[in-house]
C-alpha cells in the first residue's frame, strides 16, 4: 500500500539534526493538501466539510510549525492535527452496526472480489456508518499504511483492541460492498435459470 506515493504524498526534505527546519506553509500545502483533503473526505463524508477540515488543519499547522523538528514527520504530524480537529467536531457516539457480522466472505465467489468495482457512494456511506473509533483505525490502516502495532502506539490502545476494531470495521465494509454484488449475481442466476426453463 505504500508503493503508490504520489507527488503530494512526498515528504519535504530538510535538516534532520533537530534544529528548527525550513518548512514554510506553501511548501506544506503543496506537498500535503491533496492527501489531507482525501483523508478528511473519508472521515467527514462531505466535500464541504473535508475542505473546511483541511483548511483548519493548515491554519493550526501554520501556528504550530515551529514545533515540527523532523521534516520526515510532517505528514504524520499533519494527519494527527487533522484527526484531532475532526474529533473536536464530533460529539456523537454511535454503536457499530452489526448487520455485517453475519456476512461471511468465505461464501463469496472469487470472481466477485476480483471484479469488484467499488461504488464510490456506497463506500462513502459504509465508512460514514462506522463510529469514530473504528473509522480512525481503519483510515490509519488503509490511508497511512500503518501496521496494527503502529496504530496501537498512535492511539495509545492495546494491540488487541486495534486488531478487534480493524476486523470489525473491515467486516462492515465487506458486508456493505460485497453483499449487494452477491445478491445481484444470485438474481441474475435465478433469471437465467428461469429463462432456460422457459418460464
Amino acid at each position: 500500500m505504500a508503493d503508490d506515493a504520489s507527488a503530494e504524498d512526498r515528504l519535504p526534505v530538510g535538516d534532520s539534526t533537530g534544529a528548527p527546519i525550513d518548512l514554510d506553509l506553501p511548501r506544506l500545502v503543496a506537498d500535503h493538501a491533496a492527501v489531507l483533503y482525501r483523508y478528511a473526505y473519508r472521515l467527514t463524508g462531505s466535500v464541504a466539510d473535508a475542505e473546511d477540515l483541511t483548511q483548519q488543519t493548515f491554519l493550526i499547522a501554520h501556528q504550530k510549525l515551529s514545533q515540527l523538528r523532523e521534516p520526515a514527520g510532517a505528514r504524520g504530524w499533519l494527519f494527527a492535527v487533522l484527526r484531532r480537529a475532526y474529533l473536536k467536531s464530533q460529539r456523537m457516539t454511535r454503536r457499530l452496526p452489526l448487520a455485517g457480522s453475519a456476512f461471511e466472505i468465505e461464501s463469496v465467489p472469487d470472481e466477485i472480489v476480483d471484479e469488484l468495482i467499488v461504488d464510490r457512494e456506497l463506500l462513502r456511506a459504509a465508512i460514514d456508518e462506522l463510529p469514530d473509533p473504528y473509522k480512525l483505525v481503519l483510515m490509519s490502516f488503509y490511508f497511512e499504511d500503518l501496521s496494527y502495532r503502529e496504530i496501537a502506539e498512535q492511539f495509545e490502545l492495546p494491540v488487541g483492541t486495534v486488531m478487534s476494531r480493524l476486523s470489525r470495521a473491515k467486516s462492515h465494509l465487506r458486508f456493505r460492498l460485497l453483499e449487494p454484488e452477491c445478491a445481484a449475481v444470485a438474481d441474475r442466476r435465478t433469471t437465467a435459470s428461469r429463462q432456460q426453463g422457459g418460464v
Binding site: 500500500m1 508503493d3 506553509l25 500545502v29 482525501r38 514545533q67 486488531m163 478487534s164 480493524l166
Partner: protein, 271 residues
Amino acid sequence: MDQIDLRKAMDACRSGSEDLLLPELAPLAEHLASDSASRRLFDCLLRFDRRISGAIRDVPVPAGLAERILARVPIASGNSNEAASNDAFDDAPCPAPVTEPNRRRMGRRGWMLATVAASVVVAVSFVLWPRPTELTADELLSHGGEWAKQLWKQPTNWTPLAAGQRELPNYPLAAPIVVSPSRWADVARLSESNAVAYDLTTGGGQRAILFVIREAEIECNPTPPISPQSSTEGLMIGCWRAQGVVYVLVVDGDERSYKSLLKSIPAPPFA
C-alpha cells in the same frame, strides 16, 4: 486459535507487507502453512483489501484547493489565537497568549505568567494523570472474558482482603453484587487500564470475577444488565457504569449463575 482470533489476525495483515513476521501473528503464519482453506480465505481478504485501499484513496480533489488554503491562512492568522485555543492540538506547547494593544503592560504580563503557570499545571497533570481507557462496550465485554481466562489460567498475585473488608478504597464493589469477594488482584498490566479484579468465586466452586475500572470512557448501562450481554465459551459477561467506575462481571457458568450474583433490580417505572 479460534475462528474469531484467526479472522482478526488476518484482518491485521497489510497486503504486500511482512506483517506475518510480527510476533502476534506467528500463530496465524503457522496456521496458514498447514491449512489450505485458510490460505484461500487469507488471499481473498488481501485481494479485497487492495481494492478497498485503492478506492479509499481515490477521492477527487477540488480544483484550486491549495490556492484557497493559502489565500485564507494569512488572513485568518491575524486572529490566529482564536483558532489555536479551540484546540486541535491540546498536548502541544501553548502558543503565545492573546494580547490587546490597549491593555496595561503589567496586566498583560500578569496574564502571560498566569497562562504559563496554567500551561505547566495542565502539562504536569497530563503526564501524571492516568490516561482514560477508551473502549466500546462491545470491546469491553470481549476483553473481560479474555482477562478472566488469563487470570484463571495463569498464576496470579491475589491479595486476600482483610477480615471485614469488602472492597478497596478507590475501587468500590458494585452495590448489586451479593457475594463478598475473598481477595483482589491488580490487573492494570493485564487490562492496560487503571483496574482491579475481585474474586467472587463461591464456596460451591462457581468461578466469577468482577473487574472494576477507573478513568474509563465507556458508554455502559447505569445498572447491571439483568441478563448477560455476552455469553461465549461458557462465560456470562455483563458490564455497567456506576459510582464513577466501570464494572465487568464475568461468570463461568450459565445465565442462572450470572443472575445469582446480582440482587434483583426493580424495573424502571413507565415513562
